[in-house]
């Protein structure tokens, strides 16, 4: 089921794009370019979901100023369970999904998992993994693309990325090089979540959104640091596209970048 629905289509999409860019157009670093093109494709496919969830988040932001919401907060301030029940009723009434804030991020998880599986399999460098990989390839894909060239810029996309500098080789914690892409992923994930997520209300859904905003940069940064750099490339490009997409929809909150951090620090409880 997982292979049929997620993994195999991803592997074959990547191979198709790789073949097109590398063999037919003769571009160097075709697998890296294939990952970038694939990321754009995923962003386009999930665009309707992203738009809907951003609209929903806007509604939630507006709801925080709604008189009924404020009355509920006051009325049930000592009964959290009842407050949640009443808030959920209000969400329903106003057509709001309280979990929508983190939905675009959650939807990334099967994509991340599938893409990682696809990259690792596609860049198999020993016989048993390559043999297993061969079973995932559709008959319509040209066998001449096998094995793939894993090099893109300074990276081997099947290995964790490190930028090696000779003068740093003596330092114990940087002997393997600087994890440039992991750092970039943390920064862009933070920027993306801060710039594109409106201030969350003090509800369960809002709490989860805030949690995702805090932990997602660290989580993706850890993955970018420790797993194949092809996946880190996906994170980076995906973050850039999310910011561009939100800017195009005029939903980027540049001011909120700093002010919301301050709010979080000052907020009681």
């Amino acid at each position: 089921m997982w292979n049929t629905v997620i993994l195999d289509p991803m592997i074959n999409s990547l191979l198709f794009i790789y073949d097109l860019l590398g063999r037919q157009l003769g571009l160097a670093g075709a697998f890296g370019l294939a990952i970038i093109a694939f990321t754009i494709l995923i962003r386009l496919i999930t665009l309707p979901l992203t738009v809907r969830s951003q609209q929903s988040m806007q509604k939630m932001q507006a709801m925080q100023q709604d008189e009924r919401f404020l009355k509920l907060q006051k009325k049930y301030k000592d009964n959290k369970q009842k407050l949640q029940e009443e808030q959920l009723k209000l969400y329903k009434e106003m057509g709001i999904n309280p979990l929508s804030g983190c939905l675009p991020q959650l939807i990334q998880l099967p994509v991340i998992f599938g893409l990682y599986g696809a990259i690792i399999r596609a860049l198999s460098d020993s016989p048993v993994p390559l043999l297993e990989f061969s079973k995932h390839i559709y008959s319509s894909i040209s066998t001449s693309v096998i094995p793939l060239d894993s090099h893109f810029l300074w990276m081997d996309l099947g290995q964790p990325e490190r930028w090696r500098l000779d003068f740093l080789s003596g330092l114990p914690f940087l002997a393997d090089g600087i994890p440039v892409l992991a750092i970039v992923v943390v920064i862009t994930t933070y920027l993306q979540t801060k710039l594109t997520t409106p201030t969350a209300p003090t509800t369960q859904g809002g709490g989860m959104t805030q949690a995702m905003n805090i932990y997602m940069p660290l989580l993706l940064g850890y993955f970018a640091y420790s797993l194949a750099s092809g996946l880190a490339l996906y994170f980076f490009i995906s973050n850039l596209l999310a910011i561009v997409q939100a800017a195009a929809m005029k939903r980027v909150d540049w001011r909120g970048l700093l002010s919301r951090a301050t709010t979080l620090v000052k907020r009681p409880g």
């Binding site: 998880l109 998992f113 016989p127 048993v128 043999l131 290995q159 809002g206 989580l219 409880g269």
Partner: protein
């Protein structure tokens, strides 16, 4: 930090561990096919943490190297027997070891072959001996010629200072008349001078698909399988294509040749017999599992194994069944004829090596480490 946020922390940690764990599992999976060879008295099996020397009569373990598993030391390439009492083995971190094949003692090594700094340095294809020289294909994209006496370097192809081949060498070389022929995953078959390591053909012959196993030599022709769904016959002189035979899937293993026919399988699960004269099909036999290993041929029978654990003996002339057995695990290693025994190595089963009576198909012994 907002208190609401903390509630989701354990979930996110669990999720990340799950993802990292699953991903890690993919990275650490078994890497190579077991490598198997024999000197007529002992079978030498390279698989995972050790080289096992197994008595051919009884299946008893004579010795293992190293005696205890060592971190980052694993073996998959078939060892080379000789010179003298030596056994030359390549490990999965691109190093050569020479053992005394009577007792497994280290004679020289380990000797590192090279470093491309990309964590892709493995010896997958078995070393090949010619006199006191050993020729070793490496995943770092080079073929190494070394002294079998002390491991010292003779030459590398491509030469040191020149870029390595774009892809790995997994195939053992085939050596004839002063030339070393080696196939690469970069889709090419290369011919190299035995003495100097200089290319004999200015560029390799492009086969449109990766080459993962050694070419089979038949007179002045080389038969080479490739992932481009074909078996190609090339002239050893200049690399001209004599004929090619289209297949249903990738041809991973080498063909085996007897009585004017070449026997080989493909990953779609078809076993073929074709004429070596012109590549004409003599018979084909669809099987239930993919065929990655080279078949063995002896005494009018062809022995083939499939990925999903089937071992079969067929009449070589017409594919009529002789006997069949089903084993636990995958069969990815070339079955090996050793006297009256047929040796079959298993991947992922409880038994690592089995000896079958070639005539009857009965099990003589099994070996489990």
């Amino acid at each position: 930090m907002p208190s609401n946020s903390l509630r989701f922390l354990p979930g996110l940690i669990a999720l990340s561990l799950w993802l990292a764990g699953c991903a890690g599992g993919s990275l650490n999976a078994a890497s190579g096919f077991p490598g198997l060879t024999s000197d007529g008295e002992t079978a030498f099996l390279a698989y995972g943490p050790a080289i096992y020397a197994i008595d051919l009569d009884s299946g008893a373990l004579r010795w293992r190297y190293p005696a205890e598993p060592q971190r980052d030391l694993s073996f998959f390439a078939a060892p080379a027997v000789g010179p003298g009492d030596h056994l030359i083995v390549g490990d999965f971190t691109n190093r050569l070891h020479a053992l005394d094949r009577r007792n497994g003692a280290l004679v020289w090594g380990p000797v590192a072959l090279g470093s491309n700094g990309a964590n892709k340095e493995h010896i997958v294809g078995g070393p090949v001996l010619v006199g006191e020289r050993v020729f070793v294909p490496s995943s770092d994209g080079r073929l190494y010629a070394r002294s079998a006496i002390d491991g010292s370097g003779l030459w590398t192809f491509p030469a040191e200072g020149q870029p390595a081949l774009r892809q790995a060498l997994w195939a053992s070389p085939t050596i004839v008349e002063g030339k070393v022929f080696v196939g690469s995953l970069d889709h090419h078959l290369y011919a190299v001078d035995l003495e100097s390591g200089q290319p004999v053909w200015p560029e390799g012959v492009d086969l449109s698909g990766a080459v993962a196993d050694a070419p089979a030599l038949v007179g002045d022709m080389l038969l080479v399988g490739s992932f481009s769904n074909q078996l190609v016959a090339l002239m050893t002189g200049g690399g001209q294509v004599a004929w090619s035979f289209p297949t249903d899937g990738w041809v991973w293993g080498s063909p085996s040749v007897a009585e004017g026919l070449a026997y080989f399988g493909d990953l779609s699960g078809t076993l073929y017999a074709v004429s070596i004269e012109d590549g004409a099909l003599v018979w084909r036999l669809p099987l239930a599992g993919g065929i990655a290993a080279s078949p063995a041929v002896a005494d009018g029978q062809v022995y083939a194994v499939t990925e999903n654990g089937s071992l079969m003996a067929r009449q070589a002339s017409n594919s009529d069944p002789a006997w069949q057995a089903n084993l636990e695990g995958q069969l990815l290693t070339d079955p090996l004829v050793a006297g009256d025994n047929l040796l079959v190595a298993t991947t992922g089963g409880s038994v690592l090596l089995s000896a079958y009576d070639r005539a009857s198909g009965s099990v003589r012994w099994t070996f489990t480490p």
